[in-house]
């Protein structure tokens, strides 16, 4: 694996976006372009994952589902405990929820990386990707409710009916959420259409995906760059957390992928990436609504400005190397 192999175009486009904000360029992509590419990318991953799942047998996906739930419920609790060493309860709860969830952009960059160097992987991690959005939101809600009760007891306040409404609302939301729906829906479509029909749409959803991913990461680079400008506001502890936490997640993911799920090197890399990545799509608005006391600048800067760039530029090759190491291949 030479250096030029690591220089996957998608990572370079991401770096270009960060560079643009660094030199204060006026480069700006239309917000709708971002939304459109997201719909397209999620559909592409879903369709492809669904087709592969149909081949592999959906029953065999059960361990992946269990692993996704373990990671999705477990990681936020770990994150919360670490956070609480320095940070107030509400911000801790909001930030923790992000780390149980996943980043489809990071996942796809990892897929691009693996495909670029010719490594194959199982169909199951994409199921985990679809599943892991929801549990993290639920744990976030529980942690916030718990923190709020503690705070309130200390202050001698009463229980809050309004919060229960929000809880229910967000619980439903976490299952009807647009991106989850597209992922599951297109997985289903990919699983049931005939091969001939699949081939008709493959050029659009498959062949083009890597190229479109480049423009997506250019945009993500611009957003990450903007958030990096806020490093001094979030403080050194949080920035360190934003690099430490993906490493903790990655270690957990490696263990689960290699020992429990027993996937190939490619598959273990993807499970690791899922565990290491933090959400920046579904979780932030959910936390904004559920934990209005928390500062959105904190969790957005951590997720977008620290963890995402770290995973895209450093984490993915590192996790791949670790997966190789576990498999005895390096």
């Amino acid at each position: 694996m030479s250096i030029s192999d690591v220089l996957v175009p998608v990572a370079l486009f991401f770096a270009l976006g960060m560079f643009a904000t660094l030199i204060k360029s006026d480069l700006k992509l239309p917000p709708d372009m971002h939304k459109m590419i997201v719909v397209y990318l999620l559909s592409g991953i879903g369709l492809h994952g669904g087709m592969e799942l149909a081949h592999a047998g959906i029953g065999a996906a059960l361990p992946a589902v269990l692993a996704a739930l373990v990671l999705g419920f477990g990681l936020p609790i770990v994150a919360y405990v670490i956070m609480r060493m320095k940070v107030d309860p509400m911000n801790s709860a909001a930030i923790a929820a992000h780390y149980g969830s996943v980043s489809a952009g990071t996942y796809m960059t990892a897929v691009a990386f693996l495909t670029g160097i010719g490594v194959t992987f199982e169909a199951y991690p994409v199921v985990m990707l679809a599943i892991m959005e929801s549990p993290a939101i639920i744990v976030g809600l529980i942690l916030a409710g718990y923190s709020r009760a503690v705070v309130r007891k200390r202050e001698g306040g009463s229980t809050d009916d309004k919060q229960k409404g929000v809880f229910k609302h967000l619980l439903i939301d976490s299952f009807t959420n647009g991106s989850i729906l597209i992922l599951f829906g297109t997985m289903f479509i990919g699983a049931i259409v005939s091969e001939a029909n699949y081939d008709k749409i493959e050029p659009f959803f498959g062949t083009l995906l890597m190229g479109a991913l480049c423009l997506f990461l250019l945009d993500m680079g611009l957003e990450a760059g903007k958030r990096m400008a806020e490093f001094k506001d979030v403080g050194i502890f949080l920035v360190i957390f934003g690099i430490l936490m993906p490493l903790i997640g990655a270690a957990t993911g490696l263990v689960i992928g290699h020992y429990w799920l027993q996937y190939s090197i490619g598959g273990v890399t993807l499970v690791t990436v899922l565990a290491a990545s933090a959400s920046y799509i579904a979780v932030p608005p959910a936390m904004r609504m559920a934990v209005p006391e928390a500062n959105p600048s904190f969790y957005l800067t951590l997720s977008l400005g620290v963890t995402f760039p770290f995973n895209v530029l450093v984490g993915i090759p590192l996790y791949y190397w670790a997966a190789q190491y576990l498999a005895g291949a390096v």
Binding site: P31, H34, Y280, S303
Partner: protein, 109 residues
């Protein structure tokens, strides 16, 4: 006002800023008070007791909507009564001022 008054109808101008998500509830209130006309502008941003709200923030969905309506004093009173508790819950802002409705268009107030 040195304008000819026969072409003008004195009314109240109400200007509300609200979460875009609460727009449905607000429209229900407007229907309840019998407002026969209103105008809204979406994708507004702002700053208030809950901090910044920008339609452009990546990763959050925080948009305000500005609603303008011309209505009678009676309607305004009902509106204020119904809107106050809603604003306590959902935040936002409501301003009232005097205005004149120019005759000509259908009387949708």
């Amino acid at each position: 006002m040195t304008l000819q008054h026969d072409a003008l109808v004195p009314l109240k101008r109400v200007e509300i800023v609200f979460d875009e998500e609460g727009m449905g509830e607000l429209e229900n209130i407007l229907k309840t008070i019998g407002a026969r006309g209103y105008t809204y502008i979406k994708h507004a941003g702002g700053y208030g007791s809950r901090g910044e709200r920008s339609p452009d923030t990546f990763g959050l969905r925080e948009e305000n909507v500005v609603i303008i309506l011309a209505c009678t004093v009676a309607q305004t009173e009902k509106l204020v009564t119904m809107l106050s508790p809603k604003m306590e819950e959902l935040g936002g802002m409501c301003l009232i001022s005097d205005c004149y409705w120019v005759k000509g268009a259908a009387e949708s107030y």
